[in-house]
């Protein structure tokens, strides 16, 4: 087992040990039961804070400040030793909480990786190099001779990102391109014959990819172990704590339309006008206008409607009717019905798909002929303004919304729109289109005493 004591040792052999743990194996420590829960909740506050920050579209510099603040506020301890232990223990406890479903794993992986990335950046370069060697990355420092031969291209890449190539002692590493998918995807490295030339400051990406991949595998193993042996053993002690931790922080789950009740097909047209967020209004309008929607749009709108309470049969009737001018009933049954049934968990592996959250919609990539995505992000300024005016947003409010959009705060923009349209404030902020719908209906019903 690896030694997981990770605090600064001023030992005789002068080894600088990083303060950043890699969570390679569970610590051989004793934990008090109260600490088990408390440590985890503190860490969860950090992770939730990161999640909020990302959802609001915060830029890297802002995230850096946010994470430093969150860590200091929640994870500090007067004794360095205790701090390190809390760090490790809280991580492993949360692994138990978040290993149970694909969605939970994805969220946890994403937040922990983000946390790790920023903490890595805070480290000194020697500490960073030490961490790199712990990961055993297959990189090679580029020799001077080779550097000279590719210097021009490296400079071009740097300038394409608005940076300059560092001075003559710039250190570059040569890695197989598969090791740095993030850098390749963003065209932030020069690649030649399968090798990527990675600058020292990009090394973070290398390390983070390794961290992520390791944690991803570890979570799956944890889940297996929990479900097969541990949960039963711990059913009176740890299991209740683990279950509670999970539901308390992740917010409502929109895969069960319990809160809403059912919506019938004829109601849909009315509520689309009053309670749909802009992204769904747009899709809804487009499908009625074009009598067609491409796959991305069908998924985003279809799952949203499911979350709103539209039953499968009504959904099939809706899409079939809207597509009718372009698609015969026969062709519809052949080419589209299957996928709608699939969304409702009636086909294939019977997964009951969850409606997309704002985070997912914002990060989608609508292409030619698509209408899905987040209008606050994906529309041109002109088109967005026009859409907001059509929704009935006052011109003053439109300016506020556009200001948020320019600063890439897409969810805040949607929240402002909600407030302008409904004439009341929305303190929690919009994180999910179905949440927008529910909140809207709640307000309208309290005003009218009926389904608006």
């Amino acid at each position: 087992m690896e030694v997981v004591q990770s605090h600064r040792k001023s030992s005789s052999n002068n080894v600088i040990v990083s303060t950043l743990p890699l969570y390679r194996s569970a610590p051989p420590l004793e934990v008090r039961l109260e600490d088990f829960e408390l440590f985890a909740m503190d860490r969860l506050r950090v992770l939730k804070g990161i999640s909020d920050g990302l959802g609001r579209g915060k830029k890297p510099e802002e995230m850096e400040k946010l994470i430093a603040y969150l860590w200091k506020a929640n994870m500090r301890h007067p004794h360095a030793n205790e701090e390190a232990n809390k760090d490790i223990i809280s991580h492993f406890v949360l692994r138990l909480v978040y290993c149970r479903t694909e969605e939970l794993r994805k969220w946890f992986l994403s937040m922990e990786t983000t946390l790790f990335r920023y903490r890595f950046r805070f480290e000194s370069s020697e500490a960073q190099r030490a961490l790199m060697s712990e990961f055993k990355l297959p990189y090679k420092a580029v020799s001077n001779a080779e550097f000279e031969s590719v210097k021009d291209k490296l400079g071009q890449v740097a300038r394409s990102m608005g940076q300059t190539l560092a001075a003559a002692d710039a250190i570059f590493y040569k890695v197989p391109f598969e090791e740095v998918p993030e850098l390749v995807a963003g065209r932030r490295v020069f690649i030649h014959k399968g090798h990527a030339y990675v600058a020292m400051n990009q090394v973070v990406s290398l390390v983070v990819t390794q961290f992520r991949s390791y944690l991803s595998k570890a979570l799956i193993l944890t889940n297996r172990k929990w479900t097969s042996t541990v949960r039963e053993q711990e059913k009176d002690r740890l299991a209740p704590i683990v279950e509670a931790l999970c539901t308390s922080y992740l917010g409502p789950d929109y895969s069960q339309p319990n809160e809403v009740g059912e919506i019938s097909l004829k109601d849909i047209y009315q509520i689309a006008k009053t309670s749909f967020p802009l992204c769904m209004r747009h899709l809804f309008e487009k499908v009625r206008e074009d009598h067609h929607l491409k796959h991305g749009g069908r998924m985003q709108l279809g799952l949203f409607l499911k979350g709103v309470g539209l039953k499968l049969d009504d959904a099939l009737a809706f899409w079939k009717a809207e597509f009718a001018p372009k698609v015969s009933a026969e062709r519809f049954d052949k080419e589209y019905a299957y996928n709608i049934r699939h969304n409702y968990g009636r086909e294939g592996k019977r997964t009951d798909y969850t409606p997309y959250s704002c985070q997912k919609i914002i990060s989608s990539t609508p292409g030619v002929g698509d209408h899905h995505g987040c209008p606050y992000r994906h529309f041109s300024e002109e088109n967005l303004r026009a859409a907001l005016v059509r929704m009935g947003v006052s011109s003053r409010a439109v300016e506020d919304v556009m200001d948020k959009v320019r600063n890439r705060h897409y969810q805040l923009a949607c929240t402002l729109t909600f407030e302008a349209v409904h004439g009341s404030s929305c303190d929690a902020g919009i994180n999910h289109p179905n949440q927008y719908f529910i909140d809207s209906q709640r307000i309208l019903q309290s005003k009218n005493g009926s389904v608006a």
């Binding site: 291209k153 071009q156 890449v157 300038r159 394409s160 990102m161 608005g162 391109f177 598969e178 998918p181 993030e182 390749v184 995807a185 963003g186 065209r187 020069f190 690649i191 030649h192 014959k193 399968g194 090798h195 297996r224 747009h282 052949k334 990539t365 609508p366 292409g367 030619v368 002929g369 698509d370 209408h371 209008p375 994906h378 529309f379 041109s380 002109e382 088109n383």
Partner: protein, 452 residues
Amino acid sequence: MTKEEAESGRDDMVIDGAEQANAVPDGFDANYLRIYYGKLFPHADMFKWMSYGNDGKHPACDRSYFGRREFSFTLENDIYIRFQSFNSVTELENSIKEKCPFKIDIGPVYSVDPAKRHAYAQGGDNVFTPVERELVFDIDITDYDDVRYCCTGADVCLECWPLMTIAIKVIDTALRDDFGFNHILWVYSGRRGVHCWVCDGKARRLTNEQRAAIADYFRVYKGNENSHKKISLPGPVLHPFLARSYTEVLKGFFEAKLLPNQNLLSCQERYEKILEMIPDASVASELRGRWQENKRASMSKDDINLVRWEQLKSVLQSGKQKTQGLRRCVEEVVFSFTYPRLDMEVSKHMNHLLKAPFCVHPKTGRVCVPIDPNNCDEFDPTTVPTLSQLLEELNRGGVREDAENELDGTSLGESVKFFRTSFLQPLLKSCKEEIERSYNAKLQQSKNTLSW
């Protein structure tokens, strides 16, 4: 009569009984296909390809490899069957001949034989999951409908087909020079696009994340009708990959071919689209004004599109323009019209099924033949052999001694030969070397661990 005589004298000759018997009316149906699969479809070559050397005698050959590959068949009446697998070339061939699929798709190689997948489903250490799959790309000309005026939808002509040709050039060069891949097969999709199969071992073992990274590396076009600017090339300088694509392929093609052939600047409706891409409204109005005036004036002998393009370039690239964005605008226009538009989803997932080469397209009757990337300018989709044409050639050929000669006697022979010599043979040679190399490495390793 001999084939030569029949062909040379065809136009003049009186149509006698033999000639009429040879003629095959245009079409696509199970009967035609039966003959095609019986005599022309290269079953053995497909088997050798999909085996990647594992059908050899070397002890390191994985006998289960071919059997773990998923094929799917679309039968007459649109019946679709997935998870077909075969243990030998005979099984593959017999199944195809018996079922006569209208379309054959190739999926990934799974961890176990797809036929046995239910025994493995969820959990445990043995999961049913893809383990290898070629890196594939799908380029479809309908994604370019907003920049071609000669055809729409499924039509393709020699004016707009070159958009596919330059897509091949850009992607092929990058796959070889940047990513270091060598075994690349380009195939005509049968109607309106091309597919690319990257078959290096390294490519087959890429994870979904790595595939997504490569697809994103290639992605430049991000818009749809809701946003105006569809291409954004930020930064003072282009990444070497984009710069090379621009100078070596895109610029020349745009200025010499696309601009004049598609009359992109000749009338207001069309030039508005380009003017819309200029971020500075006053510059756009200046050009608009000039072109509206010149509408009725007699032009010089030069093509009006080229003249106006020169005007646009000189205004945007003149020293007067301070902002970076304007100078870059020229490249953005060229990119938005010509840069390859890939279907991201096809490339990102290992389990995506893609049509097999040498299938016949049901709507056009054309065979999905390979395209030589080094000669892609010569490729003409309107002269690709059709099913009925091939059957006619077979009829004219009369009875042959063996299958090989029958194939050679048709226009398909050339395509199969190209497939073998420039793709299959080098690939198999490299596979063999890889198998031997890894075997020897393992032997060496076990020797090392055994030594005292």
